[in-house]
């Protein structure tokens, strides 16, 4: 990226005999993006950990999981796996889904609206550093909340754990691919949604719908076939199925629609979403960064002041 940018710069200067200004001066080397990006990620993470709202959200997730485990009784029909385990595996998938498609777009929209993106655009290497920081943040949030959930339920209420090295491996790749499927999509949403409050409202409903139709919280076979087919288009069902294969014993396969974990299909669908997400996210983020400007910021600020949301 540095090479490309520098090439343009040099070509431009070289091609202009009447170039005004001090272009003859030695150009300063550009700092490596990753350093600033990792520093930034670390700072953002610290802010997240210090934010009581964010932290209580995480704790609520754990409490919900514990309540699920305590209140859901009985076995998955046709197996001896506790129903609670199936629900917990689905809940874990939902957590990943939510980080990518709710938390991330909200962060992006907020930072876009407040001008953080614009300031980074005005800073050399700012945008790459921003993306690196966000990736770091999302991975840590995902691993953190997943780890917290699995560890807390395993320790306190005998929740599900991977049964062997193979299952751990499945957990790793399903989590990775699941994040790759939802994070670019979330970034694309964050680039187009109007403002943080509306963004939340717009994302929340479809997400909730998916949560209940994807077989994440109860066996998918109990839903109408049409609903099953619709939900199968979206990544959540496959994330949940992949996590079930990692967290539940193989005997629980009996309750799956296909009678198996369909891991190749899980990989295929999640990869497809990852590709779609990247294809959407890159131009949309570019456009968002390009469109942001001081006058838009001012216009929004004035509107907010008029509506009394912010003090001038």
């Amino acid at each position: 990226m540095t090479d490309k940018v520098d090439a343009v710069d040099t070509a431009d200067v070289a091609g202009m005999n009447d170039a005004p200004g001090g272009t003859a001066e030695p150009r300063r080397p550009t700092r490596p993006y990753w350093r600033a990006g990792l520093l930034r990620g670390g700072i953002e993470l610290r802010h997240l950990l210090r934010n009581p709202k964010e932290m209580s959200g995480q704790l609520t997730n754990v409490v919900v999981a514990l309540l699920i485990a305590a209140y859901v009784s009985g076995e998955v029909p046709g197996t001896d796996t506790p129903m609670a385990h199936l629900v917990l595996a689905g809940f874990a998938a939902y957590l990943l889904f939510q980080i990518g498609l709710i938390s991330l777009p909200q962060m992006l929209v907020t930072e876009r609206e407040e001008g953080a993106l614009l300031r980074l655009r005005a800073t050399p290497g700012g945008i790459p550093a921003y993306l690196i920081a966000k990736c770091l943040l999302v991975v840590v949030m995902a691993v953190g909340s997943l780890g917290l959930l699995v560890a807390a339920t395993a320790l306190l209420v005998d929740g599900p754990l991977p049964g062997g090295p193979g299952d751990w491996l499945t957990l790793l790749w399903v989590t990775t691919l699941g994040l790759l499927a939802v994070v670019p999509l979330g970034a694309a949403l964050g680039a187009v949604l109007p403002n943080p409050r509306e963004a939340l409202a717009l994302i929340m409903l479809p997400t909730m719908g998916l949560l209940f139709t994807s077989g994440a919280v109860f066996p998918i076979t109990s839903l109408p076939v049409l609903v099953q087919q619709a939900a199968a288009v979206f990544p959540l069902k496959w994330m949940a199925q992949g996590l079930r294969s990692a967290l539940l014993p193989d005997s629980a396969r009996a309750a799956e629609a296909a009678g198996s974990w369909e891991l190749p299909m899980v990989a295929l669908v999640l990869t497809a979403w990852a590709v779609i997400g990247f294809l959407l996210a890159i131009p949309l983020l570019r456009r968002a960064a390009r469109r942001e400007s001081g006058s838009r910021l001012t216009a929004r600020h004035r509107k907010a002041v008029r509506s009394g949301a912010v003090l001038a």
């Binding site: 710069d9 300031r119 006058s295």
Partner: protein, 306 residues
Amino acid sequence: MRAPGPTPTARPVIRARNVTMAYGDLVVLRGIDLDVHRGEVFALLGPNGAGKTTTVEILEGFRQRSAGEVRVLGTDPERGGDAWRGRIGLVLQSWRDHRRWRVAELLTHFATYYPDPRDPAELLALVGLTDQAGRQVDRLSGGQRRRLDVALGIVGRPELLFLDEPTTGFDPEARREFHVLVERLAREEGVTVLLTTHDLVEAERLADRIAMLVGGRIRVCGTPSDLARRAAAQTEVRWTAGDGTAHRERTKDPSRLVWQLHRDAEGPIADLEVRRPTLEDTYLHMVHRADDGTDQAAPAVRGGHR
């Protein structure tokens, strides 16, 4: 007012020729010509919605112009890379970002993007935020926030600094300190500054040259005294004559009038007062002339320096 002053012989840091800008049907800029030289402080004045921010953003590379030629530090802003960005500092009109960050933390972080940044602690002292170093950004007052924006704008030691209404919300003392800071940057470090403001006194105090943007064109451009001279408003001379009556007269040449008065009176003159037209007179005159449609666009580029 300032000792070394800009060097008009060198190639300009900013050069714009016939820049136009339209938002859909709304034509905001109708052909702007600008030359800003190294080390110069250049002020862009104009009523709300005149297109000052638009102009600044075209020069910053944030906005695609509709037509025209622009070179900023030798590069077309629309194709400026990271190395080019690193030589430019900006303070935008309404930033509210990084609210959760602490003041010193934010400044230190942004210093890491530049090869030769200013020391964050010194910079905080320079903008008078040392006491607020540990405070969260969204707990700052409006003026403090603005001073932080200024600090962030110069943390990378830019050669060229864009300031879009930098002193909005400053108290008089902060404003004075800000003026001293800008003068220092320009005089001691040779930083070129392009600022927009609604504060005419500020423009007069800081700027080597002032341009007035009205109706999508630069109406006049020149040193503050140039502008005053070019205005139709004339210098007013007041005095009390020997018989005790108060007189006032408008003239283009106050020095000649006063000299004549002295000769006639053969001695000192009571209550003599020479009142030059202020920049405000000039400004209001320009804006009104544009409203009447009786204007003629004045050439914007000229080598007028004090």
